[in-house]
């Protein structure tokens, strides 16, 4: 595909279309840069970090019998190896701070406490070099935990999920439920059964789990591995042992199903780009060929393209802009309303909960509840944003496509040959729009390149008033004590409610700001993308009009030579478009 891109670039260069050359350059860059992301998810203590370590033959992810991974760790290709912490700045954006490898385990285990949202590690490994990046996530700790929701949220962007469970026992109901919800967001998932070295019965566990998947209607392949054997195989340089560890099959799956699929997507995106460029170039060559064959038609063809240029100039500010503008407004209003609504319901339910109990006793449970609910609200809100963004991109692309196609409508067709070419082009451009949409990932634009949602804010610790002491007893007397105690509970509830509202406001502020940011990104992305296309169309038409005049003015001998050169270029273009 890279050769084709280079070919298209050369053709665009020959046609003196610097704008198209730049498009190709960007496409090449994207093709090189984009990785396929694999998220490693699962319950606590199932061996996720060990799996990542064994897979990449490293010891970067800290492994301990008690301490658990607290922040997501992203591993991607890089030479020399380096590590960064993703720390939120005052304005909410994440900044990468370089960190030494010896510091890493501490940050990964403590993470949140120091405000670290994620850790990024660049390693020099073949699997990563092939375009894979791996995220080791904290254990979800139950489906409805805050972390579970955050992990689900991050899955929308992952190319694949490795769901990790160990061979000590069959899958539990919450695990299968989590997997089911994960599959809604990330259709490519594998179940990795770890620790096969420790349990003689692991084959039966595989069978039982397969039965559970069948009954649940989930199509998830199970790979059984032993990270221990893989590490040992590496230490002893023992291929047979490596085969026994089960990892070759996992690597094969990752290469074929994850990297392969990602490569296909990338190729599809690049091909869409090439087709767009070819379409732009071919228009001119077709017109030139027609005029070269029949110079008398030159004025007519030139008029046609002058008209098309005029129309194209309007395309940049066409009605697709209106669709985009209105769409963005609707989208941000809807998403904001959705968030407000979710948070409003959360506050109401939270207040009901507080009204039933004394916050001094239930405060910790209540905090856990509130964080879980806030995470769920934020993630669902984000999902809405992604779906709506997709829809908007579709609408805009469709409108743009219609306008783009109508550029040629009711223009006088110079001759039969040209009309035929135009018909070809129309259908060709339509598929171009389809391809744009095929390669467009709403989640990627929405998330702005970051995979991780951080923990959703923190509660302040609330200092509840101390229970009544001696002085109150002396001054108030028995009956008064009772009512005073009730008053105190009321007071605590009030305090707790205030804190709940503050927390929800806080969450609303941060999530709302992220959403607005994402909406702006979406708007800018779509506007730039289609403006660039409109400009390209205008330039193509203008260049064609000029070129046609030029050819018509050539002496017959040169014109014939030019016709040969054009035929050759045409053949190259057709080859590229095929």
């Amino acid at each position: 595909m890279l050769a084709e891109l280079a070919d298209a670039r050369a053709l665009a260069g020959a046609a003196q279309r610097a704008d198209l050359v730049q498009r190709i350059d960007l496409a090449v860059e994207r093709m090189r840069a984009d990785d396929a992301t694999v998220a490693v998810v699962g319950e606590f203590k199932q061996g996720k970090s060990t799996l990542v370590n064994a897979l990449l033959r490293t010891d970067i992810c800290p492994v301990d019998s008690d301490i658990v991974t607290a922040v997501p760790t992203v591993l991607r290709f890089g030479r020399p190896p380096a590590a960064f912490l993703q720390v939120p700045q005052d304005d909410g954006a994440l900044a990468s701070v370089p960190v030494g490898f010896e510091e890493l385990p501490r940050h990964i285990a403590e993470g949140d406490k120091n405000g670290v949202r994620a850790v990024e590690v660049r390693l020099d490994r073949r699997l990563l070099g092939a375009g894979l990046s791996i995220i080791d996530t904290p254990g979800v700790g139950g489906l409805d935990s805050a972390q579970g929701n955050l992990t689900l949220g991050a899955l929308s962007l992952a190319g694949a999920a490795l769901f990790v469970t160990d061979s000590a026992q069959e899958l539990t109901a919450p695990e299968v439920e989590f997997l089911r919800r994960a599959l809604e967001r990330c259709p490519r998932a594998f179940c990795v059964l770890t620790k096969t070295d420790l349990y003689g019965e692991w084959r039966r566990i595989v069978e039982i789990n397969q039965g559970h998947f069948e009954r649940a209607g989930l199509d998830v392949p199970i790979v059984a591995v032993s990270s221990f054997l893989r590490m040992r195989a590496q230490a002893l340089d023992d291929t047979a042992l490596n085969a026994e560890s089960g990892f070759p099959r996992l690597v094969e799956l990752l290469r074929r199903d994850v990297l392969g699929a990602a490569a296909e997507n990338k190729v599809a995106a690049a091909r869409a780009e090439v087709k767009f460029v070819v379409g732009q170039l071919r228009e001119r060559i077709d017109a030139e060929q027609a005029v070269a064959a029949e110079p008398a038609k030159a004025p007519e063809v030139a008029r046609r393209y002058a008209e098309k240029t005029r129309r194209s100039a309007g395309l940049a500010g066409g009605s697709w802009q209106t669709v985009l503008g209105d769409g963005i407004q609707d989208l941000s209003a809807d998403v904001e309303h959705d968030l407000r609504e979710r948070l409003r319901i959360m506050v109401r339910r939270g207040e009901d909960l507080l009204a039933e109990s004394d916050p001094r006793e239930t405060w910790r449970d209540f905090q856990a509840w509130a964080q879980r609910e806030a995470a769920a609200a934020a993630v669902d809100n984000l999902m809405l944003l992604v779906t709506r963004t997709e829809q908007l991109a579709h609408d805009v692309a469709e409108r743009f496509g219609i306008e783009y196609d109508s550029l040629d409508v009711d223009l006088p067709a110079p001759d039969l040959a040209l009309r035929k070419v135009d018909e070809l082009d129309v259908s060709f451009q339509k598929s171009g729009m389809q391809q744009f949409l095929g390669a467009f990932t709403a989640a990627r634009v929405t998330y702005g390149g970051f995979y991780m949602l951080g923990a959703v804010g923190a509660f302040f610790s609330v200092a509840f008033a101390a229970p009544l002491g001696l002085l109150a007893g002396v001054t108030l007397g028995r009956r008064m004590m009772k009512s005073e105690r009730e008053r105190q509970v009321q007071q605590r509830r009030l305090q707790a409610k205030q804190e709940l509202r503050r927390y929800v406001d806080d969450v609303g502020f941060h999530v709302g700001r992220d959403c607005r940011e994402a909406t702006r990104r979406t708007q800018r992305f779509l506007r730039d993308e289609f403006s660039a296309r409109a400009q390209a169309a205008e330039r193509s038409a203008a260049a064609t009009a000029a070129a046609v005049q030029e050819i018509a003015g050539l002496p017959p001998e040169e014109r014939r030579r030019k016709a040969d050169a054009l035929a050759e270029q045409r053949r190259r273009l057709d080859r590229l478009a095929a």
């Binding site: 319950e43 919450p174 349990y199 039982i208 221990f228």
Partner: protein
């Protein structure tokens, strides 16, 4: 003054005479039966294995897949016998066979129709308490999970059928905490942290079955014990390797010989064999059987013990396995938390049933049929309820339980030191005098008396100190009374 259980017995006898309710008769019978302790936990947490280890006999069938599907009671009996209690209230004896010791019951009907099974086993270990094996929570067979929840939870009109619970945790899961919370509803009748003990089960598997697994497990358990949320639900967490305990209790001479043969092989061959479970199992069917009995950690440990000549015969190996399993420590905690407190736990369960029956027999909820019956039952119901209340309020055992509950849910003011001492003195780590005073089990009577007197003075001081908060004063008075109790007990014994 009669004992707590004596008072409860008398009250129940009276209640049976006044309210004809089968539940009361059962409750009365239950007072004289052993304490009922349920073993609960998520699916595959190792409940049946732990039960076998506690009884010291291969009783409950165990398997790699989900195995226990019906609530099964294991109680002391003269001979082995199995009774199926059906949903319609009837009971029928069922035939059974024993495979490798495990009791295989032929139900002869769908499992849904069986409410629970009762297995009678002649065992001294079951004399003081009946153990109840439950199907796992969070199982993919939802009906199995629901059955356990229904069995353990005190739901609305029905008091819990168990007096205490051993809850098995593998690692902290969301559903674990939810389960414990639902079991410990608020208030004394439903359940309090004083009738639950946590077990960090399958402790031998923590950290990849390495030989230091039990130390890691102890660390994890210690961390759990400091977790405020968890401590409020079950105050003690004991790491236990159930498989090791069960194997230690039932180790056969032949199994020792197989392990000794492995240990006699050259070192590199041993390393190779014990690298993975697969390898060891593949080296012979007998070895595969030993592996299924001891687990990989157990085999590794046993081979090392034999090789390093720490043990020389099967009896010594069995002893070492039991020691490593942590089952003895669990038994200690079990005795301190449950057996030593069985009177008050049983009394509490019985009073809960009585409450329920009085409630059902009171006007409004009672039978609207005859005119005189509701009047009669309401007339006699009130004194019954009053008497039940009086027992609850006056029995010091109940006061202690209630205080412990308050203390552990963080509702009592005081310094950490004060609270820790209060927990112990109220019997939080065991009812015996040495438990309460934090002394070694063999402490002399004189030392106990001296310590108790010191504690008494200290807590009387707190109770009378003008700056103590009111709640603490009340608690301190009760603690002082516990100390007095210790002194009296000491003089008598």
């Amino acid at each position: 003054m009669s004992t707590l259980l004596g008072q409860v017995r008398a009250l129940l006898d009276r209640a049976i005479a006044e309210i004809p309710d089968e539940r009361l008769v059962q409750a009365r019978r239950r007072v004289d039966e052993p304490l009922r302790v349920a073993i609960a936990g998520k699916v595959k947490a190792g409940k049946s294995t732990l039960l076998n280890a506690l009884v010291g006999e291969e009783l409950a069938p165990t398997d790699a897949g989900e195995c226990t599907r019906i609530v099964t009671w294991y109680a002391d009996g003269r001979t082995y016998a199995v009774t199926a209690h059906l949903n319609d209230g009837s009971a029928e004896p069922r035939p059974f066979t024993r495979r490798d010791g495990a009791i295989q019951i032929s139900l002869g009907r769908p499992a849904e129709e069986v409410e629970h099974l009762e297995v009678r086993v002649p065992s001294s270990r079951l004399r003081q308490h009946t153990l109840i094996d439950t199907p796992g929570i969070a199982s993919l067979s939802t009906d199995v999970s629901l059955r356990t929840m229904a069995f353990l939870e005190a739901e609305g009109d029905r008091a819990a059928q168990t007096d205490a619970v051993i809850y098995l945790l593998r690692h902290m899961h969301g559903s674990d905490v939810r389960f414990l919370e639902s079991f410990h509803g608020d208030g004394l009748s439903n359940g309090t942290p004083v009738n639950a003990v946590g077990v960090l089960s399958r402790a031998d598997e923590i950290g990849g079955c390495r030989l230091d697994a039990m130390e890691s497990a102890a660390r994890v358990a210690a961390r759990y014990a400091t977790d405020e949320r968890l401590r409020r639900l079950c105050p003690v967490v004991v790491p236990v390797a159930g498989l090791l305990g069960a194997a230690g209790a039932t180790l056969r001479e032949e199994e020792y010989r197989i392990l000794a043969a492995v240990a006699a092989e050259p070192m590199d061959r041993i390393v190779e064999l014990l690298l993975t479970a697969d390898r060891f199992a593949a080296s012979g069917p007998q070895r595969a059987h030993v592996l299924s009995r001891l687990g990989l950690f157990g085999v590794r440990l046993a081979v090392r013990l034999i090789r390093e000549r720490v043990v020389k015969d099967s009896a010594e190996l069995a002893k070492q396995l039991t020691e490593h399993s942590g089952i003895d420590r669990l038994r200690e905690v079990f005795t301190a938390q449950f057996v030593g407190r069985s009177e008050v736990l049983k009394a509490r369960s019985a009073l809960a049933v009585l409450d329920e029956c009085i409630l059902a027999g009171s006007p409004g909820a009672g039978s609207p049929g005859s005119g005189s019956a509701p009047a009669g039952s309401s007339g006699s119901g009130a004194p019954l309820a009053g008497e039940a209340e009086r027992i609850r309020a006056s029995a010091h055992e109940f006061v202690e339980l209630r205080l412990l509950h308050q203390l552990r849910s963080g509702r009592l003011p005081g310094t950490d030191e004060q609270l820790t001492e209060m927990d112990a003195l109220l019997g939080g780590s065991g009812g015996a005098a040495y438990h309460r005073l934090g002394l070694p089990p063999d402490a002399a009577a004189g030392r106990i008396a001296a310590e108790a007197r010191e504690a008494l003075a200290r807590w009387q001081n707190i109770a009378e100190h003008p700056f103590s908060p009111r709640e603490l004063k009340n608690a301190a008075r009760a603690v002082a009374r516990s100390c007095e109790g210790l002194l009296v007990q000491n003089q008598q014994g």
